[in-house]
């Protein structure tokens, strides 16, 4: 009993101490809120990115792009006369951790959040951004629910993205096949095990048929398949002008190789899942001639803005920037631009400025925000020529 009494006393003391400490903390907080920051104090922006875990490479490259952009902006004098201070935190490729990180960044009084990269983690961070009325810019969340509530169809007020949605590039490719490649008949061979490829195929079909084309064959495969010859033989006999193959490079590389072996010489088309150095190793440079795919951006682009970005990035990080780095770079400039146009660091005003973005020019293209907070932007069309990516054109929506 004696021990128990002592323990209770100890607990009570600990409890009181914690209350006092808590009060102290709260007091200082209200104090800082009361005194408005002097005009020359830096603007804080939070980076909630994946620096470890499954998609660490996406987050790291994106962070590099964002940091480079903010350093450039600061060197040029900052925004509205104030420097930008970025706070980088790792959300460990985990949706729950993304929520925590967003909350911690909000406590540090950031005025905007950039990241996370993958859609699942963006969904985790969204409630924090919405409750605190702080805009969140997702650089690479390509799935629909990131900015739109799928149940109600309503746009999420404080969430924006700088990348296009997956199916969007399928529609662009459909237009390109009909308009530029003058195709009348198309065959589709899609990876039916991913929503990504199915979405691309659906969008391609819609835009291609709208232009008067017909789909002569619709075939599928699943991730991990190795032998496509029977399906390709069937497609060959339908004599299409183009074959659209949305999927990832492991399978599409083999499809390109086997299609050429079977004597299918018509253009093969794909999406950003094709983008990998391994594509050439799997299919061989020769088989890939006369193949085209869409992407967010290409480091081979001759656009002066892209050339400048690639040079600066290479100088800073000794490697070629990928699409994530480019999207991060654009997201950073987009946020800075919105703060400038808002003329304020108030979350709601920045949000309104982001929603009103028109003709913002970044390295991943020029875009305006639509009502769903998705950028309406062009995709880069890449042709494979002897194993090298060559930028053919930018397809406008």
């Amino acid at each position: 009993m004696k021990i128990n009494k002592k323990l209770v006393l100890l607990l009570m003391v600990a409890f009181l101490v914690s209350i006092v400490a808590g009060c102290g903390g709260a007091a200082t907080k209200t104090e800082t809120e009361k005194t408005p920051a002097p005009a020359k104090e830096p603007i804080k922006i939070g980076l909630n990115v994946e620096l470890s875990g499954g998609v660490a490479s996406y987050g790291t490259n994106c962070r590099n792009g964002i940091v480079m952009a903010f350093d450039e902006i600061n060197k040029a004098g900052g925004v509205n006369g104030r420097k930008i201070e970025y706070i980088v935190m790792d959300c460990k490729s985990d949706a729950a951790e993304a929520t925590n990180v967003a909350a911690r960044l909000v406590q540090k009084q950031v005025v905007a959040l950039i990241g996370p990269l993958v859609t699942g983690s963006v969904l985790g961070a969204t409630p924090i951004a919405t409750q605190n009325k702080i805009p969140l810019v997702a650089p690479a969340a390509t799935a629909l629910p990131a900015t739109v509530d799928e149940e109600t169809g309503k746009t999420k007020e404080f969430v924006f993205r700088t990348c296009f949605l997956d199916p969007f590039q399928g529609g662009l490719m459909g237009n390109y096949a009909a308009d530029t490649l003058k195709a009348k008949k198309a065959a589709i061979l899609m990876d039916t095990s991913t929503d990504y490829a199915k979405g691309l195929a659906q969008a391609f079909k819609e835009s291609f048929t709208k232009k008067g084309g017909t789909i002569v064959a619709e075939e599928g495969f699943v991730k991990g398949d190795k032998d496509f010859k029977s399906t390709l033989t069937k497609i060959k006999n339908k004599a299409p002008d183009v074959v659209y193959v949305p999927g990832y490079y492991n399978e599409t590389g083999l499809i390109a190789k086997q299609a050429r072996e079977l004597g299918i010489t018509v253009p093969l088309l794909g999406g950003d899942g094709w983008d990998s150095a391994d594509l050439v190793n799997i299919a061989g440079a020769k088989a890939l001639n006369h193949t085209f795919f869409t992407n967010h951006y290409s480091p081979q682009d001759n656009d002066p803005k892209v050339v400048k970005f690639v040079q600066a990035y290479k100088a800073a990080y000794k490697t070629t920037p990928d699409a994530f780095a480019a999207l991060g770079y654009d997201s950073a400039y987009l946020v800075a631009d919105a703060i400038k146009r808002a003329g304020s660091t108030d979350g709601v005003k920045i949000k309104d400025a982001l929603a009103a973005t028109t003709n913002f020019t970044g390295v991943t293209g020029t875009f305006s925000m639509d009502q769903y907070h998705n950028p309406v932007k062009s995709a880069v069309l890449i042709e494979m020529v002897d194993g090298k990516q060559v930028v053919r054109t930018k397809i406008k929506p």
């Binding site: 039916t192 599928g220 399906t231 492991n250 083999l254 004597g263 391994d278 799997i282």
Partner: protein
């Protein structure tokens, strides 16, 4: 019409790959009545040994195949000694479950050691040539011929070893009655080791060929072909060497026809439906004889 012939060619070339893998499966089963579910994964290890021989040592396809066969023969013997031998007198289901364990162990040990990344062979490993017939209507590649010839040659070799050599004779004796064979002075342990060595070497040869044929290898490449080869072995009559060959071709052609004239997505479903039908109506397979249980 040409489309049909092309589909048959596609089927035969796919079927020779299944046949190649099924040979080792069926041989091990024939001798010790164990369905070695790790067979597909030994094939994967063989493909990796072949890959590293070609990519690092810079040897050609045939020496790479020899290296892979030697390495996997050793691996097969070690697996048998560590995993299956202690279970020789326990139930067959225990050995079967152990085989699945070995299979998972090989898959994930490879992922742990070599990353799950897909790898592709260096350019020019296998100089490819396409042969066109009938005004480009029919296409055959030298890879198809290579795999077909290799499958037939290995089948003949295996049949010769089992039927006409001393070790083959002891294998057959062990398969008929292990205890009686032991009493006749046959070294059962050694015979079973040989069986695993030969079976695993066959898997390795298949692995290198599959790797070169599709130009890609990954740690899980053995699962689906392993299962399909198992079906092929059952169709042909498990334990019967020419049956494995036949079963492989049946499977390959069936898959080609389903993809070509039905839907490509039903291909695997049809393959496994055939397994169920065979097991229901003729469990001994095409070449199997209904011998009944010996009492």
């Amino acid at each position: 019409m040409y489309e049909f012939f092309q589909q048959m060619l596609n089927g035969v070339s796919l079927g020779s790959i299944y046949a190649l893998i099924a040979l080792g499966y069926t041989m091990v089963y024939g001798i010790i009545n164990l369905i070695n579910f790790a067979h597909g994964d030994i094939m994967m290890v063989g493909a990796y040994v072949g890959f590293f021989s070609i990519a690092i040592l810079g040897v050609g396809v045939v020496p790479a195949m020899v290296f892979a066969m030697l390495a996997c023969a050793l691996l097969g013997v070690v697996i048998e000694k560590l995993a299956y031998k202690p279970l020789r007198n326990s139930t067959r289901i225990a050995a079967l479950i152990t085989a699945i364990g070995v299979s998972l162990f090989l898959e994930y040990a490879t992922i742990w050691l070599l990353t799950p990344q897909q790898r592709s062979f260096p350019i020019g490993t296998f100089p490819e040539k396409n042969y066109y017939f009938f005004d480009q209507q029919l296409v055959l590649t030298n890879k198809d011929l290579f795999v077909l010839v290799a499958a037939v040659a290995l089948m003949v070799l295996l049949q010769y070893i089992v039927k006409h050599t001393r070790i083959g004779k002891s294998m057959r004796a062990v398969s008929q009655d292990m205890e009686a064979a032991m009493l006749m002075g046959i070294n059962v342990d050694k015979t079973i080791s040989y069986t695993f060595a030969i079976g695993s070497a066959l898997a390795a040869a298949a692995g290198v060929m599959v790797g070169v044929y599709y130009n890609t290898i990954d740690p899980l490449m053995g699962i689906i072909p392993g299962l399909k080869a198992f079906v092929a072995a059952v169709i042909g009559g498990i334990g019967i060497i020419p049956g494995a060959m036949m079963g492989g071709f049946v499977m390959g052609i069936l898959e080609a026809l389903v993809s070509g004239y039905g839907s490509s997505l039903y291909r695997d479903a049809v393959a496994f439906a055939v397994l169920i039908l065979i097991l229901l109506f003729k469990p001994t397979g095409i070449f199997g004889k209904d011998t009944g249980e010996k009492v």
